[in-house]
């Protein structure tokens, strides 16, 4: 039993459960309506679904997973097209597929993982140390651009940005070349002006401006940043205690269930609670990265690296946003924020990491 708990996959799963549990507790103490119509109840249902996913995925073989890469990617792209045609529009973005009257799902969340899959698949066929970085860049760009453009059509700035960051990280890390890096940097700089002028909506520009100087817009979007900082700061060392989130309860905080869930947590549990939560994610990311050296198979390497960055950037950007280090974009804290899509996708990613750290030795020996 003890050996089982000390096994790498168990550590990963336990950390994942702690994150989900903390998020659930946090949600319960943002008091809502009665339990059964509340966010907490819906989240509970999603948690049950996530546990089922854990069980299913950890029973799969890595070979099966690798074979599913391309169908998985195609499936998620089809979902993105579907949502553009039949999706439900919520606050101006057509990014939700309604499941019954009760639940809805965001395909843009799923595509972040399936992109990692498809890149891992192709890069492993090309060989991790292939000199043909141009081929790698082109393939990476094509696989990235298709979902990116579809997501921008919704439009969902947060998911698009997250996909961009994860893609860039994975592509650059596995097809590293100085010249290419410079070209990419110049391209991004050159594209940022037309993107600012034409692609971004006014409210999105406003957010970026208000990030730079929130005091210029205290009642508008800068208000959220200020309120979030007040919530977090007022938690001090030990927090106000669970259920005492005045900022959250009094509705000063917008999106307190999703994008600003961390602020409510930090208000209730203080600096200690924030460090605890961030440590859980840090463990997940760094612990996974430590396995990179031990894994021989290229597919698993890219996959593990991509999944770690998937967790890492959600953490980094979401928390930075709540403490005024990053503009407010709609990015949830994976598995912690309220929402089925991010919970399920987080659970998928987590199970995959667990699966890899459990079975990589067999693959090293036998290959995929």
């Amino acid at each position: 039993m003890i050996r089982l708990i000390r096994s790498p996959e168990a550590k990963i799963l336990i950390v994942g459960f702690l994150i989900m549990f903390s998020g659930f507790i946090n949600l319960i103490f943002i008091k809502d309506n009665s339990f059964f119509s509340s966010y907490s109840f819906k989240q509970f249902v999603w948690i049950v679904v996530s546990v089922l996913i854990f069980i299913i995925i950890t029973r799969l073989r890595l070979q099966t997973i690798k074979n599913m890469s391309i169908p998985f990617y195609v499936f998620s792209i089809l979902l993105l097209i579907f949502v553009l045609m039949f999706g439900q529009e919520i606050s101006g973005a057509k990014s939700w597929i309604k499941i019954g009257n009760f639940m809805s799902f965001q395909p843009s969340e799923l595509v972040k993982i399936s992109f990692i899959f498809v890149i891992a698949k192709f890069y492993s066929e090309l060989g991790a140390y292939s000199k043909s970085y141009l081929v790698k860049y082109s393939i990476g760009t094509v696989f990235f651009l298709v979902p990116f453009i579809l997501i921008m059509f919704q439009p969902d700035l947060g998911s698009a940005l997250m996909l961009l960051i994860i893609s860039l990280t994975v592509i650059i890390s596995f097809s590293y070349n100085k010249k290419a890096l410079i070209v990419i940097s110049i391209l991004i700089l050159a594209l940022s002006v037309p993107i600012w002028n034409y692609a971004l909506k006014d409210y999105q520009k406003e957010r970026i401006i208000s990030f730079v100087s929130p005091e210029n817009d205290p009642s508008g979007y800068g208000y959220n940043i200020i309120q979030s900082k007040v919530a977090i700061g007022s938690g001090k060392l030990t927090g106000k205690g669970l259920g005492n989130s005045s900022q959250g309860k009094l509705k000063f905080l917008p999106e307190k269930h999703t994008d600003f869930a961390f602020s409510v947590w930090a208000e209730q549990t203080g600096f200690l609670g924030s460090v605890f939560l961030i440590s859980l994610y840090s463990f997940l990311v760094i612990y996974s990265l430590l396995f990179l050296n031990k894994i021989k198979d290229n597919f698993l390497q890219v996959l593990l690296f991509g999944l770690s960055s998937y967790f890492f950037f959600h953490l980094l950007i979401n928390v930075s946003m709540t403490i005024g280090l990053f503009p407010v974009v709609g990015i949830p804290l994976l598995m912690f924020s309220y929402g089925g899509s991010s919970l399920i996708c987080g659970a998928v990613a987590l199970s995959l990491i667990a699966l890899i750290v459990r079975d990589y030795k067999d693959v090293n020996r036998l290959g995929l």
Binding site: V230, G233, G235, K236, F252, A266, F271, V285
Partner: protein, 588 residues
């Protein structure tokens, strides 16, 4: 990138970025934690109004009819350092603030919930007291001076109906309560042009806790969010406020309405109703008691008699009767009728106002002497259809093109007869309306329009009270010959030996028509001489050769328009000559 290099480098990057986040959290939660905790005790952000002055309303010569005056209000915000006894003494004996108000502010400010709340001690402190308070600001930390704007009407009740007054605004400032400068136009031009006059208040943002108390903070500040206040735009009227003042005082003890307008431009020089109210009273909040008192005034000071009260026109309508009869060919210049002092119709006697009768009269002398019998007969041969057509083309029963609420009055049109009289129209009714009694009511502005049409040889006046460009070029087709007959008659009314309007006679250039509207008592037992005296009309234009202005006076219970309205018109003519004709620079 080498395999191990990738792993180590990424762990390094991840760690550095996480440390930045953790350090930031440490800074917010530990270093600034106390400050944020304080702000978070139910904070919210509130807008504080920075008052802006309302635009002025000016008369045609730039005289201020309504103006916003900066006033300084005194607020009290509790400060434990102050010696309350000393402060109380200063407020009550030096500043003469009611003890009741001071006690209340002191008492309520002691409640925990009102810790930082401001209490108004006095609106419009006055120059001397501002000076006194300023000297004491250092010794009494709890006193605060705040600038606000008070609406002032220097001419008070003169022409107040069209200028209007202000009412309170529901929008209250969280810190200072209501500002005088945020009051809204409640009636008249203040209401119609409220948007233009009001300007926009500025604002600044304060962090306020749930009890409305300001939370001062060194880490969250909104100073840069200030919105500059903008004063409202001025409104220049065509009114000559000094002329209105003269008319108002010329009315003496009488009540009524008056209108003077320029014929060529249609610009209204004077439009006023008496009795009136003092709009200054509504620039501040008014007590219920005072409001009830004003409401119960028997003479209805809020009734705008220029447009809202309609009365039978009496003999001034004989102008229209004469024009209609001449134009329709019922009479001509030499047609004569004999007046015996009465006219018999179906066994009923319709009397002329002059008992002995006027003898032989033609249209001109009938106008001059206001002979009723002549117009009885003319009216009968004219018939109601043609008559009401002419009444309508003179503008009666129609809205006048002024932005104020108005009562259009009635004429016995075919519609009216079928709707209200079940189609029954008797000769006796016709006889009555021909001399301006019966089913015929008009307002003062409509009467002015009628006279203006005659004076300008048929052109409708393009009435305006705020200068504007458009021009109304419509004219009423009346033959020159007939017009000059009427004009001759009107000149005679004032200047002929037998003219009924001789009370206004001065330099022989005034032309006009008097009238008397019979006031019918509903109950003969309730008979009251004062209240049921007849109303007097006098409408006129000046000067006869080259008409420039129309003057119409309506005197409530004035008995005779000539006697009660005549002297007022005489005053206006003298004023006009002095200020517009002799002093050429003053002509607009």
């Amino acid at each position: 990138m080498a395999k191990s290099e990738r792993s180590n480098l990424s762990i390094l990057i991840v760690s550095v970025l996480l440390l930045v986040v953790l350090f930031r959290l440490f800074y917010i939660q530990i270093i600034n934690g106390n400050e944020y905790r304080r702000i978070s005790s139910n904070n919210f952000l509130k807008e504080v109004i920075v008052p802006s002055p309302r635009g002025s309303i000016l008369d045609r010569f730039g005289k201020e009819i309504a103006v916003s005056e900066a006033v300084v209000n005194l607020y009290y915000k509790r400060n434990p350092k102050d010696d309350l006894n000393k402060l109380k003494k200063f407020l009550i004996s030096d500043l003469q603030i009611e003890r009741r108000i001071v006690d209340k502010a002191f008492k309520e400010s002691k409640l925990y919930n009102n810790k930082n709340k401001r209490f108004i001690l006095k609106e419009n402190l006055g120059l001397k007291n501002i000076y006194r308070v300023e000297n004491k600001l250092n010794s009494f930390m709890s006193l605060e001076l705040v600038v606000d704007y008070l609406r002032v009407y220097p001419f008070a009740s003169v022409g107040a109906h069209k200028i209007g007054y202000l009412k309170s605004n529901d929008k209250r400032d969280i810190v200072y309560g209501s500002f005088l400068s945020t009051r809204l136009g409640a009636s008249g031009l203040e209401k119609i042009f409220n948007k233009r006059l009001q300007g926009s208040n500025g604002s600044r943002y304060l962090l306020i806790d749930s009890r409305g108390n300001e939370v001062l903070s060194r880490i969250v500040s909104f100073d840069r969010k200030k919105v500059q206040n903008k004063s409202g735009k001025d409104l220049t009227l065509t009114i000559d406020i000094e002329m209105e003042k003269l008319i108002y005082s010329s009315f003496g003890n009488f009540n009524g309405a008056a209108m003077v307008h320029e014929i060529k431009t249609g610009e209204i020089l004077a439009l006023l109703s008496k009795p009136s109210f003092d709009p200054n009273k509504f620039s501040k909040s008014i007590s219920v008691k005072e409001w009830n008192k004003i409401k119960k005034e028997p003479h209805k000071p809020f009734l705008n008699r220029t447009l809202l009260s309609t009365n039978p026109p009496g003999s001034i309508i004989k102008i229209v009767t004469a024009v209609a009869a001449l134009e329709e060919g019922v009479i001509n210049e030499s047609s004569q009728h004999y007046c015996r002092g009465y006219f018999e119709l179906g066994g009923r006697k319709f009397r002329c106002w002059k008992q002995g009768g006027h003898g032989k009269v033609n249209v001109v002398s009938a106008l001059i002497t206001s002979c009723d019998v002549f117009f009885y007969k003319v009216g009968l041969s004219l018939g109601i259809k043609k008559y009401s057509k002419w009444l309508k083309s003179f503008g009666f029963s129609k809205r006048v093109s002024l932005p104020f609420s108005q009562n259009r009055g009635v004429i016995p049109s075919a519609d009216f007869i079928s709707k209200y009289l079940k189609g029954k129209w008797y000769k006796g009714d016709m006889v009555n309306v021909a001399i301006g009694q019966g089913y015929l009511t008009v307002n003062t502005v409509q009467a002015s329009i009628m006279t203006s049409i005659i004076a300008s040889n048929g052109a409708y006046p393009d009435l305006k009270i705020v200068s504007r460009e458009e021009k109304d070029n419509r004219t009423l087709a009346i033959s020159k010959k007939n017009l000059s007959l009427i004009q001759k008659g009107l000149l005679g009314v004032v200047n002929d030996r037998n003219g009924t309007g001789f009370h206004a006679r001065s330099d022989g250039k005034l032309a006009g028509k008097t009238g008397t509207a019979q006031v019918i008592s509903k109950s003969s037992t309730d008979y009251n001489v004062g209240e049921f005296k007849n109303h007097g009309w006098y409408t006129s234009y000046y000067p006869f050769e080259d008409p420039k202005i129309v003057i119409t006076i309506f005197v409530e219970n004035g008995v005779s328009g000539g006697r009660s309205g005549g002297p007022i018109i005489k005053n206006i003519v003298n004023y006009y000559k002095k200020n517009y004709l002799i002093r050429p620079g003053a002509i607009n």
